[in-house]
Symmetry: C2
Subunit: 256 residues, 2 copies
């Protein structure tokens, strides 16, 4: 009988700029006596990767542009924060007093360009004014972790970088991938037959996101201090992939 198992990786310290996340993960995994095998997956929150990549920004050092000042005025938000959001975005999708939804430079659509300050500790000054940007290129961040594990353990694993996104139509956030190494963002079942021999028509499954949801749940969102999850039993083959696979282009999107 098939089993898919998500295990919390414990004992990961607070991450600082310059830390080697892969080394810290491997140490914690060994310490916890989790067996690493080919095909296993590590799900890592974008937050610790951003911290290691020194993506912290102090709001007092941000100079808002004209556009940011205007946007801040229209939707009643701090123009310095709007400057950060704009600088991380390709395009504003919606902006209201309740929410600012953008197409991130990385291609996905999310609130506030993924900029957050929960679980962020500043370097100096007022801690409330420190914000964390998303990792520069999460696919590459994932690949670096994968490569490190390959080198040190000789096992071929997959790595996903995850964040929590809100959604149109449904309340609540869900974990989704923003980067992947070897975990297929999409699995294409078209051409496969169903129980009665029909060909399936619409059958691209967002396997990376389905995995990210449960992994995110096991990380917790508050003070649980579990920034990474070990996954065993992923039912599909690992292969080269990228976040780009899961992004719907604007001209094919009925909801932009």
């Amino acid at each position: 009988m098939g089993e898919l198992k998500f295990t919390q990786i414990e004992g990961i310290p607070l991450i600082q700029a310059g830390d080697n996340i892969a080394e810290i993960l491997l140490y914690s995994i060994k310490n916890q006596e989790i067996l690493i095998e080919d095909g296993d997956i590590l799900a890592v929150t974008s937050k610790i990767i951003s911290k290691a990549e020194d993506r912290l920004v102090y709001l007092n050092e941000v100079q808002p542009s004209e556009k940011a000042l205007e946007l801040g005025k229209i939707i009643n938000r701090d123009p310095r924060l709007m400057e950060l959001v704009l600088s991380e975005s390709k395009e504003i999708v919606r902006a209201t007093e309740q929410a600012i939804i953008v197409e991130h430079k990385l291609g996905f659509i999310c609130a506030n360009a993924g900029i957050d300050h929960s679980n962020v500790q500043g370097k100096y000054g007022k801690k409330e004014d420190w914000y964390l940007l998303l990792p520069q290129v999460p696919d590459q961040s994932a690949e670096r972790i994968r490569d490190y594990f390959k080198e040190k353990t000789d096992k071929d694993i997959g790595v996903i970088v995850i964040d929590s996104h809100g959604r149109p139509w449904r309340k609540g956030t869900v974990g989704v991938i923003i980067g992947t190494s070897q975990v297929p963002a999409l699995v294409d079942l078209r051409g496969k037959s169903d129980l009665f021999g029909y060909h399936l028509k619409i059958s691209e499954v967002a396997a990376g996101d389905e995995l990210a949801g449960a992994a995110s749940m096991m990380m917790g969102q508050a003070d649980e201090k579990i920034p990474a999850i070990h996954v065993k039993g992923f039912p599909y083959q690992l292969r080269n992939s990228s976040i780009a696979e899961v992004l719907r282009s604007k001209n094919l999107d009925l909801f932009r």
Copy 2:
């Protein structure tokens, strides 16, 4: 260390109208020697519940209304199928030749009102013309399964009914709940503190959907014949819930 485990329930036969799904699930679980404990969750595909509830419709017996004829003409689809979609919907959200997205009578937004014919075997005539509607009230379908397990095993479990939905912005489908008994559709973390004592602001987690994604992945979409998954280790308390919790009302939705 916390673990969340999804186990495929094997040996479930093809479901027919009138079958007692709960009885069949319990039999298969016992047969497989899966231990049922308080707090465990069963994730069940809507498909077998629809079959048990006799929600099969034969297209040749559907009389399309004026509106269905018009819609079919505009987007180049079978008007009888459009009749089914309209009769299961409150409102059309988008209709193009590529996709028809509606607000289902049950309140959620999905393509084709959730009507499908993969893994559907008709009763007579042309099997291609048989379609399966979603369960009447999936919250209640879930509750009936839960109650049966309580009666027979004296264990308090949760049950989710899941389907696969497409999404704006991102390609691929993901498993989501369309009904729940005792599994919280949303978990509210607002008011909780993060690692550094900030209060979290936006922290409603769609826990039911996060669970549904991984469960759906373990069901497979093609001929894997795994219509139900046993989940152990759900990190939140079970409580009364409903699909209604996760539905964003139209006036608060920026993308309708």
